[in-house]
């Protein structure tokens, strides 16, 4: 019997405790974060699953909780991600400027996230939403760039203020802040405005197309653990709001009879499709592995949006399953890249190469993560992408289908780039001595994540069952799942069978390999170079401009959104400067002039 409020208060106190412990000894402070987040995850998962979470409130005023399947689903996932990533804190915390503050903010943002998922009152939802924003805000500048924090704040505030506006409109209609009743009481044009505003909030938090500029900057430059938490955990807040906006509220606008979809669904699907295409194209051309993974989580955010907006049983379950698969895969990938950057100090692929020789386990973790991200069968990513494809095809949305297919094949391209340029290939001399396998405690979370990725790929029915509860609660017909099979709208899938058949195939290939003569082991520098004698590894490692011919095709259009927001910022600065130079000179006569003008306006009707 665990009370949610107790858990949240415990996490906040643990945060403060970790601050003081951190002041004494940095690593001890971060160990506190591990213990706290593991405790929170275990209690939420265990008690939540056999629903013994009581939601009474004694300490926190004005905050009321309620356990919904939707909230529980997201809470378990995000706390799991926080717990796994916290294993990395002790190893990275020495490098940061304010280590104690880092541990405290880490746990405070966890508390905020819990609050968001479990509250049933919109105002406290907004309270926790903003609380997460500013606690995670101060974690970002500990990484490489300071500008990322302000752009993160700007875009997520746009999102949260849109959410606030919608909350107040709903309060006018229903009179209370309660989520369920206020969502139900809104209809007609008010419902349209509310769902549009909630969609803006979801777009801002997910980093989808119009508001996507902050995601690559933040995930690319923030400290390694934090970018993993962002892409695995904090982005899922956007997904949570997206479920509220797109699934709970009915779509509005002109309904196309051929496919039965409303105009709003088309708009959001189109934006989701644009996010996928934009994310994929930008990810293909990145040289920094972390920026590449940032754009990949942006493109996966696009998948979630497309899935949720179609709101059919296959698509919503596919979308939610994609939330799980993407969270696991991108966290594992970020942690792997973080492990590499901890040892070599850089994540730029042009400066790295051949890390597999010293870090095989990290390599395997990254391999399993990218198989899931690319949506290849034995891993979880395939199931969710299969479900989303079923829905897109069933609704016959052709252009969205083009973007979805392009995104899934493109994801294979850009996830493969770090694998080839960073892990495989020649081992560069400057990294040969210094690099060694990541310490045991860093490998533990990575291996757990890979195990889960494989599990969600081979036996998805446990998770799909849980998602079905969420579906029934959200008001969508649940997915038909047998003991081992998953039936989409136009096909049946047995993931266990695929995995076993794949296993049989590999077994046959292995037998062929073992039977034949053993090959002669040869170093990497003994390769075919048309007879030239080679002595330098850098020349023989192909990593810079990996997809040069493809990148050349769209080089001119890469920073459309970035320029748009830069011009917007300049407009505001020009307005400010104009006002400053006009009004604020030490000449009182301008003030008198304006007084006369105002008096003129007032007296216009009567005397003049």
């Amino acid at each position: 019997m665990a009370s949610i409020e107790l858990i949240i208060v415990f996490t906040a106190l643990a945060g403060v405790l970790s601050y003081f412990v951190g002041r004494l000894n940095k690593v001890a402070g971060s160990v506190v974060t591990i213990l706290a987040s593991m405790f929170v995850f275990v209690s939420v998962a265990y008690f939540g699953y056999n629903n013994e979470l009581i939601h009474s409130t004694e300490f926190l005023p004005y905050v009321t909780f309620s356990v919904t399947y939707l909230g529980l689903f997201f809470a378990i996932l995000v706390t799991f991600i926080f717990a796994m990533v916290s294993f990395f804190n002790p190893f990275f915390v020495e490098k940061y400027k304010y280590p104690a503050l880092y541990s405290m903010l880490y746990l405070l943002s966890l508390a905020g996230v819990l609050g968001v998922f479990f509250t049933n009152n919109f105002m406290s939802l907004f309270f926790f939403f903003e609380f997460v924003v500013w606690t995670s805000l101060f974690l970002i500048p500990m990484g490489r760039s300071k500008r990322a924090a302000s752009s993160y704040y700007a875009f997520s505030t746009v999102g949260s203020f849109a959410l606030l506006f919608a909350i107040f409109i709903m309060r006018e209609a229903s009179g209370t802040f309660n989520i369920v009743s206020s969502m139900a009481s809104v209809n007609g044009t008010e419902a349209a405005i509310v769902s549009a505003l909630l969609a803006v909030a979801a777009f801002a938090k997910l980093g989808a197309f119009p508001l996507n500029v902050w995601l690559p900057r933040v995930l690319g430059n923030s400290p390694d653990a934090i970018s993993a938490v962002f892409s695995g955990g904090l982005e899922k807040l956007g997904a949570f709001v997206a479920v509220l906006a797109l699934v709970k509220l009915a779509p509005f606008g002109y309904v196309v009879d051929a496919t039965g979809l409303a105009a709003s669904q088309y708009v959001i699907a189109a934006l989701g499709a644009l996010t996928i295409v934009f994310g994929t194209l930008m990810a293909i051309r990145q040289d920094d592995a972390k920026k590449l993974l940032a754009y990949s989580s942006m493109s996966n955010g696009g998948y979630i949006l497309v899935a949720l907006t179609i709101a059919s049983s296959a698509s919503v379950s596919g979308g939610l399953y994609h939330v799980v698969a993407h969270a696991l895969a991108s966290t594992a990938a970020f942690l792997a890249i973080g492990a590499v950057s901890r040892i070599t100090g850089t994540t730029k692929m042009s400066e790295l190469g051949g890390m597999i020789h010293k870090m095989p386990v990290t390599y395997l973790v990254y391999l399993i993560a990218i198989i899931s991200m690319a949506g290849i069968p034995p891993m979880g990513g395939f199931i969710s992408k299969w479900l989303i494809f079923q829905a897109v095809i069933d609704k016959g949305m052709i252009l969205v289908a083009v973007a979805v297919f392009f995104g899934s094949i493109g994801s294979f391209l850009y996830v493969f780039r770090p694998l080839a340029a960073l892990f495989l290939g020649q081992e560069l001399p400057q990294h040969r001595e210094v690099s060694k396998e990541a310490p045991f405690f860093m490998l533990v979370p990575m291996v757990i994540l890979s195990g889960l990725i494989i599990y969600t790929g081979v036996l998805p029915n446990f998770f799909l069952g849980f998602i079905n509860n969420v579906l029934t609660e959200v008001g969508v017909t649940p997915l038909v799942i047998g003991s081992y099979t998953v039936t989409g709208t136009n096909g049946v899938l047995q993931p266990a069978l695929i995995a076993s058949v794949f296993g049989v195939g590999v077994l046959i290939a292995f037998i062929i390999f073992i039977v034949l003569k053993k090959s002669r082991k040869v170093g990497l520098m003994d390769t075919y170079t048309a007879g030239n004698f080679i002595y330098t590894e850098e020349l023989m490692h192909y990593s810079l401009d990996f997809y040069a011919p493809l990148e050349r095709l769209y080089e001119k259009y890469i920073n459309i959104t970035k320029d748009f927001y830069k011009r917007l910022e300049n407009k505001v600065v020009d307005l400010g400067r104009l006002m400053k130079y006009y009004f604020f000179t030490n000449k009182p006569e301008i003030m008198v002039l304006w007084i006369i003008i105002i008096m003129g306006i007032i007296l216009w009707g009567d005397i003049l």
Partner: protein, 189 residues
């Protein structure tokens, strides 16, 4: 009711049987390495195209030494080419064969008195078949290939074993002629 008693074959007999089967495949699909060192290389295109069509014998050009079985040394071998040839030869997968085409590989040919050309190929690399002639006719080249297939069939084409067996002798010859095989050059550092 013949009682076909199954005689238990010893280990090396089984290997020999497998090796013969392997020989059958190896001689019927000889892949030659597209590495033309000298002027006799002009004889190869007619061997590939419709006039003589070496593909009938299962032979075809391959891009890299790893994949190729036959190394064709066509024409005179200067010192610099010899270094690259030895490096490529060592990269080929085993069992591998060398065919020396043109009299320059046999006794230095018209360049026998040049300071840059070696006079006898098989001192540096084991050669299985020579095709004489200062630019032998295409039939002669095709005939050379058929001879090579015959040698493989009669298990005489084991130049690559000889390279392992008398490795010091080959190394000594190479050192005598070339100085040392692997050299640094300013353009590939």
């Amino acid at each position: 009711m013949l009682s076909t008693k199954f005689t238990k074959l010893s280990k090396e007999e089984v290997d020999r049987k497998w090796w013969e089967i392997g020989d059958f495949f190896r001689r019927n699909s000889l892949w030659m390495l597209m590495y033309c060192t000298g002027c006799c290389a002009i004889e190869l295109p007619p061997a590939m195209t419709s006039a003589y069509d070496m593909e009938r014998l299962g032979m075809g050009p391959m891009a890299t030494p790893r994949q190729a079985d036959v190394l064709l040394v066509t024409g005179y071998l200067s010192l610099k080419t010899l270094r690259r040839l030895i490096y490529t030869y060592e990269q080929m997968s085993e069992p591998k064969y060398v065919v020396g085409i043109g009299s320059c590989t046999i006794n230095g040919g018209i360049y026998h008195d040049s300071h840059a050309v070696i006079n006898q190929l098989n001192r540096y690399v084991p050669v299985d078949v020579y095709v004489a002639g200062c630019m032998p006719n295409t039939e002669a080249v095709m005939n050379g290939f058929v001879d090579l297939m015959g040698l493989i069939k009669t298990k005489k084409a084991n130049g690559w074993k000889d390279y392992h067996a008398r490795n010091e002798w080959y190394m000594a010859n190479q050192k005598a002629a070339l100085g040392e095989v692997k050299v640094h050059d300013e353009f590939h550092e």
